[in-house]
C-alpha cells in the first residue's frame, strides 16, 4: 500500500503535479434480505482498488485502477496526468485548494463493539428470521420483509504534502416491514420499523440502544389501525413531526441546500442547485429563531462521521443555521479556497476507490432547545393537528424549495391528545415557509440520531451514508394533501 502510494506520488511529482493524492480503499458490504422468514437474497461483496487524483497545470485529473502493485500505481498516476491534459483546454477555472495542516501517519477507527463481518451469517439469518416470525404470527400480518445492510470501509490516503491517514468505519441498517392484504377489497397496507441506520456494530441489533422488542411488538397493531383509519381531509394542519420522520426533511431541505458546490452551480445539471445562494450567507432567514442547525463529521455513531476526509482534512463541527439564519456551508478544500472561506470543514468524500471525491454531506442536525419541551408537551400544544412518525416517500425540487413527504404513521391530534391514525397523508411545503413555521423544538432528551445509507449525488453517481439528528418539532399551518385524491381516485 505505502509502496504504491510512494510510487504514484513520486511519478506525478516528476510530471509536474501541483497537488496529488493517492487513495486505496477496501469496502466490504453484505446485504441480507428475508421474505416471510426465509432468505430471499444474500450477497457479500468486497471492492478493493485505488485512485490517483492530481491538480496538473490547474486542472483536475483522476484515474483509478485495480491491480495492487507499484507498477500499476505508476501507470494510473500517469493516466491521471493524461486526463488532466485532455481536460486542460476546456478548463477556465484554475484549481486551488485551501490550506490544511499535514497529518503524518494518523489512524482513526469508528466506535463499535462487534464488527458485523465477524458475526456468522447463520446467526444473522437466525435473528432476522426470529423477528420475522414474531411479526408473521400476529393477526393481520400477511407478509414480512426483513433486511440488514452492513458496510465496513477501510481507507488509506496519502498526499504530496505529507498527510497519511488510515481509517476504518462500520455501519449497518436493519429494517423490517409488515404487510397486510385485503384481497376482497383489493387493498394492502404496510408498516415498517423506524429504527435508524447507525454507525455501530452488530450490538445495535442485540443490545438496548433501540427497543426492538417494543417496536416489533407494536407494529401489528399500528398496521391494523392504519388499514382501517379514516382518509385525511386535505387542508392546513399543525404538525408535530417525530425525529424518525423529520431527519429526512432536514436532509433534503437543509442538508443538500447548504452544500456550497450546489449553491455555486457545480451540480446544476444533475442534483441541482440551491435557493440558499452564496450571496445570502449571513442574511437569509432560513427558519424561525428556534432553529439552529449544525454540520459535523464528528458525532459518535453518525453515518457521515470519520476522522479525516478525502481531501486529507481533519473533520470538525460548525454551524450552518444559527437562530434561524444561514451562517455556513458544507465545504471541501476546493470550494473553501474558491470563496475565500479559509479552511475546509472536511466534507470531501468518494464512495469508492473508482470515484473522484466531491463535496458530500456531513451529519446535518437540528439542535434541541436546552430545557425544551417533551414530545407530549409538544403534542399538548396542538388543538387540531397531526403527529407524523417514520419516513416513507420523499421528493424535493432541484433548488430545494418545494418538498412533499409521507410517513409510516399519521396520528390525528385533537385538543392536545392523540386521537387515532389517519391515512393517505402527505405534507407539502416550501422550505423557508416550513422552517419559518417551526414554533418549538423538543429538549435534549427527545433528540434522536438517524440518517440514511443511500444519499445520491454527482456524476458519475455516488452514494454516501449521512446522519441527521433532531428532536421532535412543532410546525403551524402546514399544507396536507390526500394522496388518494391526488391520484384522482
Amino acid at each position: 500500500m505505502r509502496r504504491m502510494a510512494d510510487a504514484a506520488l513520486q511519478r506525478v511529482r516528476e510530471l509536474g503535479a501541483e497537488h496529488a493524492d493517492f487513495r486505496l480503499e477496501r469496502i466490504r458490504n453484505q446485504d441480507l434480505v428475508l421474505r416471510d422468514g426465509r432468505v430471499d437474497s444474500a450477497s457479500d461483496g468486497q471492492d478493493v482498488g485505488f485512485a490517483v487524483r492530481v491538480v496538473h497545470e490547474g486542472t483536475w485529473g483522476f484515474a483509478a485502477g485495480v491491480d495492487l502493485t507499484p507498477e500499476a500505481a505508476v501507470a494510473v498516476a500517469e493516466q491521471a496526468v493524461e486526463v488532466a491534459k485532455v481536460s486542460r483546454p476546456v478548463n477556465s477555472e484554475p484549481i486551488e485548494l485551501a490550506d490544511e495542516p499535514v497529518y503524518a501517519d494518523v489512524t482513526w477507527v469508528s466506535p463499535y463493539e462487534v464488527n458485523p463481518f465477524d458475526v456468522p451469517d447463520a446467526d444473522k439469518f437466525g435473528l432476522l428470521a426470529e423477528w420475522s416470525e414474531r411479526l408473521l404470527a400476529a393477526d393481520g400480518v400477511d407478509h414480512v420483509q426483513a433486511m440488514c445492510l452492513q458496510v465496513q470501509e477501510n481507507k488509506f490516503y496519502a498526499d504530496l504534502a505529507g498527510t497519511i491517514t488510515t481509517q476504518q468505519r462500520v455501519r449497518l441498517h436493519p429494517e423490517l416491514e409488515a404487510t397486510s392484504v385485503d384481497r376482497s377489497r383489493g387493498t394492502f397496507e404496510t408498516m415498517r420499523t423506524c429504527a435508524p441506520p447507525a454507525g455501530r456494530g452488530w450490538e445495535y441489533l442485540t443490545g438496548d440502544t433501540w427497543d426492538w422488542a417494543g417496536e416489533l411488538g407494536r407494529i401489528p397493531e399500528w398496521l391494523a389501525e392504519k388499514a382501517k383509519a379514516p382518509s385525511v381531509d386535505p387542508g392546513r394542519y399543525d404538525l408535530v413531526v417525530d425525529p424518525t420522520n423529520l431527519w429526512l426533511t432536514i436532509h433534503e431541505s437543509i442538508g443538500h441546500a447548504t452544500e456550497l458546490d450546489r449553491a455555486l452551480g457545480y451540480e446544476a445539471a444533475y442534483a441541482g442547485t440551491s435557493f440558499a445562494t452564496f450571496d445570502k450567507l449571513g442574511t437569509l432567514q432560513y427558519g424561525s429563531p428556534v432553529m439552529t442547525v449544525t454540520g459535523d463529521r464528528t458525532t459518535e455513531h453518525g453515518l457521515a462521521t470519520i476522522g479525516y476526509d478525502d481531501d486529507g482534512v481533519r473533520t470538525q463541527q460548525w454551524d450552518l443555521i444559527r437562530d434561524g439564519r444561514l451562517v455556513g456551508y458544507q465545504l471541501d478544500r476546493r470550494m473553501a479556497r474558491l470563496k475565500g472561506l479559509g479552511r475546509s470543514n472536511g466534507c470531501a468524500f468518494a464512495d469508492s476507490p473508482g470515484h473522484i471525491p466531491v463535496q458530500r454531506m456531513a451529519n446535518v442536525s437540528l439542535q434541541p432547545a436546552p430545557g425544551g419541551p417533551s414530545l407530549d408537551e409538544l403534542i399538548g400544544g396542538v388543538e387540531r393537528g397531526i403527529y407524523v412518525v417514520g419516513d416513507k416517500s420523499w421528493s424535493i425540487d432541484m433548488q430545494r424549495y418545494n418538498f412533499q413527504f409521507t410517513g409510516q404513521r399519521f396520528f390525528r391530534i385533537e385538543n392536545g391528545k392523540l386521537a387515532g391514525q389517519l391515512r393517505d397523508v402527505a405534507y407539502q411545503a416550501t422550505t423557508t415557509d416550513f422552517w419559518g413555521s417551526m414554533e418549538a423544538v423538543g429538549g435534549p432528551e427527545t433528540f434522536l440520531l438517524a440518517g440514511a445509507f443511500n444519499c445520491g449525488k454527482a456524476q458519475p453517481g455516488q452514494v454516501a451514508a449521512v446522519g441527521h439528528g433532531c428532536p421532535p418539532a412543532l410546525f403551524r399551518g402546514v399544507n396536507i394533501l390526500n394522496t388518494v385524491q391526488e391520484g384522482g381516485r
Partner: protein, 457 residues
C-alpha cells in the same frame, strides 16, 4: 489470470451442487462541466468476480473486485458456506443448461479510454465559447463505459457479452439561472453525438423561455416528451413483479385475487416491450444477476437466453416479470428483466413538434425529476418538472411556465392518453444512472395533475 481462467478455476474448485461464476471487466471515462468550464473527469477500470454456489435449493453469493489465484479457493468456499447458512430459497431452480454454441468466450475484454471523449472535449471548447458569447451557461456530463461479462457454470454455460454504454447530458441556463433547458442522448460509442447540434437545441429552448408565464397548480393538457415518459415507465417496469401482484401487493393485483394480466390499461393500442436485439438498444442477450430480488430476479436464472417480451400489447397488460421458479409454480413462462424498454403505438409518426402544432392550449414538459412512489396501491408517484415547462398556445410555444410538483400514476395515465407520438431512442433524465436503453414516444394527457407550484428554476 484473465477472466476466463478465473471462471474456469473457480468452477473447478467448486464442491457445491451447482456453481455459476460471473466475471466482469469494466472501463469507463467521463467528463463533467459547469458554468462553461470543465470541473471533474476520470478514467477508471474496475473488475468483479461473483461466485454463486447452489446447495440443496439454497444459493450463496460472494463477490470480490479482484482475487489472486491463491484467494480463489477461499472465495468459492465462502460462497458455499453462504449457501449453507442461507437455507432453501423460494426462487430455487435447476441451473440453466447451455443453449447453442458459445460465441466469443475466448476473446479478451474490450476497453474504453478518455480518448473516446476526445471529440466531445474538443467540441465543448467551441461550444463554451459560443455560449459565453450568447450569455448562456452550460453544464453537463459525458460518460462512456465498456463492460465485458463472462458467465460460466457447472452446467456448461460459457457466455461472453460486451456492453457499450454512453450518454451525454447538456444543460443550458441564463446567467441568472432563471431560464433552464436540457437535452440528453444515449449512445454506444459517441460517433453519433453532435455536441454543437445539441447546443443549438438548447439555445432554441432558452429562447422559448424568453417570455415567462406564471400559472397556478391545476390539471393541464400536457405533452410528456420521451425523456419524461422514459422515467415514468422505467419505474413501472422495474416494479412489475408477478409474484408480488399475485400476493395482492401491487397496482397489478386484481381485486379478489390474481393479477390484472389480460386487463385493458389503455384505450389506445400502445405496446410496452423489451427486446435484447432492438436496433440501437442492443442489450445483454442472456440474463445475469448476482443477487435475487422479490421474485423478479434470481441468481438461479443466470445465463437464461432473453427473448423479446411484451409487457403491454395493444393497450392490454400481457405479462409481468417472473423468475423461472415462479413460472414453474404458476404454469406461466419465465419473463426475466431485460435491459431495455420500448413504448410505442404502431403507426404513430408524430414528432413533438407535430403534437405541439395540434395543441390549442397546453404544457410541453422537458423532463421530470425526483420521481418517487407515494402510494404503491395505485402506483401514484410524485416528482417535479424541470428545465423547461413550455406554454403552447395556438399550436406554438409562446413562453415558459413556472415549475410544478406533480402527482400522477403511470398506470392511470395509460387510461387517459389521447395521443401517442413516434417512439424514439431517448435518455431518461432521472434514471439514466441505471437505465439508458429506452425508446419512448411523446404522450398527450388531457388532465395531468400539477399539484403545487415549485419556485425552482
Amino acid at each position: 489470470m484473465n477472466p476466463q481462467e478465473t471462471v474456469e478455476r473457480a468452477l473447478a474448485l467448486s464442491k457445491a451442487d451447482g456453481c455459476v461464476v460471473v466475471a466482469t471487466e469494466r472501463s469507463e471515462a467521463n467528463l463533467r462541466w459547469a458554468g462553461n468550464t470543465l470541473t471533474t473527469n476520470g478514467s477508471m477500470r474496475s473488475r468483479g468476480i461473483a461466485v454463486i454456489s447452489t446447495i440443496g435449493g439454497a444459493a450463496g453469493v460472494v463477490q470480490r473486485s479482484s482475487v489472486d489465484a491463491h484467494e480463489l479457493e477461499d472465495l468459492v468456499r465462502a460462497s458455499e458456506q453462504a449457501a449453507r447458512d442461507a437455507g432453501p430459497n423460494e426462487d430455487a431452480a435447476p441451473l440453466v443448461e447451455p443453449d447453442g454454441t458459445p460465441a466469443g468466450w475466448d476473446e479478451a475484454p474490450v476497453e474504453t479510454s478518455i480518448g473516446t471523449l476526445g471529440g466531445v472535449a474538443r467540441s465543448l471548447g467551441s461550444v463554451f465559447e459560443r455560449a459565453a458569447g450568447q450569455q448562456r451557461l452550460l453544464f453537463g456530463f459525458a460518460e462512456h463505459s465498456l463492460e465485458t461479462r463472462y458467465v460460466g457454470s457447472s452446467t456448461g454455460l460459457r457466455l461472453r457479452h460486451v456492453q457499450p454504454t454512453g450518454r451525454i447530458d447538456l444543460n443550458g441556463k441564463s446567467p441568472d439561472y432563471a431560464r433552464s433547458a436540457w437535452v440528453g442522448r444515449s449512445t454506444r460509442d459517441f460517433t453519433d453525438i453532435d455536441v454543437e447540434a445539441l447546443d443549438g437545441e438548447l439555445a432554441r429552448r432558452l429562447e422559448w423561455a424568453a417570455r415567462p408565464v406564471e400559472l397556478p397548480a391545476g390539471r393541464y393538457e400536457t405533452l410528456l416528451p420521451p425523456a419524461a415518459v422514459a422515467d415514468l415507465f422505467f419505474y413501472l417496469y422495474v416494479t412489475a413483479g408477478d409474484r408480488a401482484a399475485n400476493e395482492g401487493r401491487t397496482v397489478f393485483s386484481k381485486q379478489g385475487g390474481g393479477t390484472r394480466i389480460g386487463e385493458r390499461l389503455s384505450p389506445l393500442p400502445v405496446t410496452l416491450r423489451s427486446d435484447p436485439a432492438a436496433p440501437g438498444l442492443e442489450a445483454e442477450p442472456f440474463f445475469t444477476a448476482t443477487r435475487s430480488e422479490e421474485g423478479t430476479m434470481s441468481v438461479f436464472d443466470n445465463g437464461l437466453p432473453l427473448r423479446p417480451t411484451d409487457w403491454i400489447r395493444d393497450g392490454v397488460l400481457t405479462d409481468l416479470v417472473r423468475t423461472r421458479a415462479y413460472a414453474e409454480q404458476t404454469g406461466a413462462k419465465p419473463t426475466p428483466l431485460i435491459d431495455n424498454l420500448i413504448l410505442e403505438q404502431p403507426g404513430s409518426t408524430a414528432s413533438v413538434d407535430d403534437m405541439v402544432a395540434r395543441t390549442e392550449r397546453g404544457l410541453l414538459l422537458t423532463c421530470v425529476w425526483y420521481v418517487r412512489m407515494v402510494d404503491p396501491q395505485t402506483m401514484l408517484m410524485t416528482g417535479l418538472t424541470r428545465d423547461g415547462v413550455y406554454l403552447v398556445e395556438g399550436g406554438e410555444v409562446t413562453g415558459a411556465v413556472n415549475n410544478f410538483r406533480w402527482n400522477e400514476s403511470p398506470v392511470n395515465l395509460l387510461s387517459r392518453l389521447t395521443e401517442v407520438g413516434a417512439s424514439e431512442r431517448v435518455l431518461p433524465r432521472e434514471f439514466a444512472d441505471y437505465f439508458t436503453r429506452t425508446s419512448m414516444p411523446t404522450l398527450r394527457v388531457p388532465d395531468f395533475n400539477m399539484s403545487t407550484v415549485s419556485q425552482a428554476s
